[in-house]
């Protein structure tokens, strides 16, 4: 009698693929899998379930892919920071002005320039009128206004003009 060789052992072993589970086993396998999954879920603490759901939702949003554009994200953040700083450092509304002339350096320089022109006009009486005919008047008004308020009252905020609705509708 011959002995078993590798080939025949291989054939015998391959017949073992016919050893199958009971009929209908694989139809029920998926249901059993779902049932066990639900049981496992019920045994988990609430925080663990919430954590898994949160990580699932983040995964669906594909958050990691957004981090692949760090330069773009950084640029957007820097721009937002600069814009927000500009907004919060903007001057107060133009309806409010400070009466103290010391806080108006631009106006003071205009005053100086206009005063020089006025002195020059005084020494050249024969010269034609300056094209800046409103200069001395403006200079006087601003100057007097500044001196008046500084002498009489402490610096205060005033409105350039009252809204129309604040004017009395009748004068008796």
């Amino acid at each position: 009698m011959d002995n078993f060789d590798d080939n025949e052992i291989g054939k015998l072993l391959r017949l073992k693929k016919y050893e199958q589970p009971p009929p209908g086993y694989f139809e029920n396998f998926l249901h059993e899998f779902h049932r066990r999954q639900r049981d496992d879920l019920l045994r988990q603490p609430v925080w663990s379930v919430l954590w898994h759901r949160l990580s699932d939702s983040l995964f669906r949003l594909n958050i990691p892919s957004l981090t692949s554009y760090p330069a773009a994200v950084a640029a957007v953040l820097v721009c937002a920071a600069v814009v927000s700083l500009k907004v919060y450092q903007a001057p107060p509304s133009s309806d409010i002005a400070m009466a103290d002339s010391a806080s108006l350096p631009v106006h003071q320089s205009v005053i100086d320039q206009l005063s020089t022109e006025r002195v020059a006009d005084n020494f050249t009486l024969s010269a034609p009128l300056s094209s800046r005919s409103l200069g001395p008047d403006l200079s006087r008004q601003v100057s007097e206004s500044a001196y008046t308020h500084r002498a009489s009252t402490p610096p205060r905020y005033v409105l350039d003009r009252l809204p129309v609705s604040y004017e009395p509708s009748f004068n008796f």
Binding site: N3, F4, L13, L15, K17, E19, P21
Partner: protein, 198 residues
């Protein structure tokens, strides 16, 4: 050899990774019969196989988001199944009871079965069902690692390269284990044929 050359499961895997439970169900339906055969021939017990297979798919479900596609899903799920079964067998020790007796009726139509029972061979001289029972006993005498290799190569029809990937060993180690296991099975069956009562 019906394992995929390329990872044909990639679309299903991607859907499962994005939280589509139905896609994972499709993978379960596709791989449960094949993995059942793998685990069953390693444990030799239906109940253990059922529990083990449920645990394998539960673990795969939890871990599928970490699957990066370095291997095919086929290799990945088989690796999980083999490793979990080997760990289970280590814990179980030698305490087992055979339930490998549910041979499907379609074996009668199998070409190799007809060949084995019709031609003159040592198999024909012995009672085939008794021989199968002895073969199962011989399988259980192998070490867990050798039985895993025999199951994957002879029963599942995997090539050496695929087995080496699944077990994380070299192809040479796979061939060596296979050779040793074949010799052991051969000796055991020859002994049975000489002493059929034994």
């Amino acid at each position: 050899m019906d394992q995929p050359r390329t990872d044909e499961d990639q679309p299903l895997v991607a859907r499962a990774q994005s939280g589509d439970a139905a896609a994972f169900d499709e993978l379960v339906v596709k791989y449960s019969p094949r993995l059942y055969g793998l685990v069953y021939n390693m444990t030799s017990n239906h109940e253990d196989t059922n529990d083990m297979l449920q645990d394998v798919f539960a673990k795969a479900y939890r871990a599928i988001k970490g699957f990066r596609g370095k291997s095919s899903f086929y290799t990945w799920i088989h690796t999980i199944a083999v490793n979990m079964t080997l760990n289970f067998l280590k814990k179980r020790g030698r305490r087992y009871h055979l339930s490998l007796d549910d041979v499907d009726a379609s074996i009668q139509n199998d070409k190799e079965f007809i060949e084995l029972t019709s031609t003159s061979s040592p198999v024909r001289e012995a009672d085939l069902s008794e021989l199968q029972r002895r073969l199962n006993e011989a399988m259980m005498k192998l070490s867990d690692e050798h039985r895993a290799v025999v199951t994957m190569f002879h029963i599942q029809g995997m090539p050496h390269a695929e087995i080496s990937k699944i077990l994380g060993v070299s192809e040479g180690t796979v061939r060596s284990r296979l050779f040793y296991a074949n010799r052991q099975l051969q000796n055991y069956l020859d002994e049975f044929r000489k002493n059929p009562v034994g």
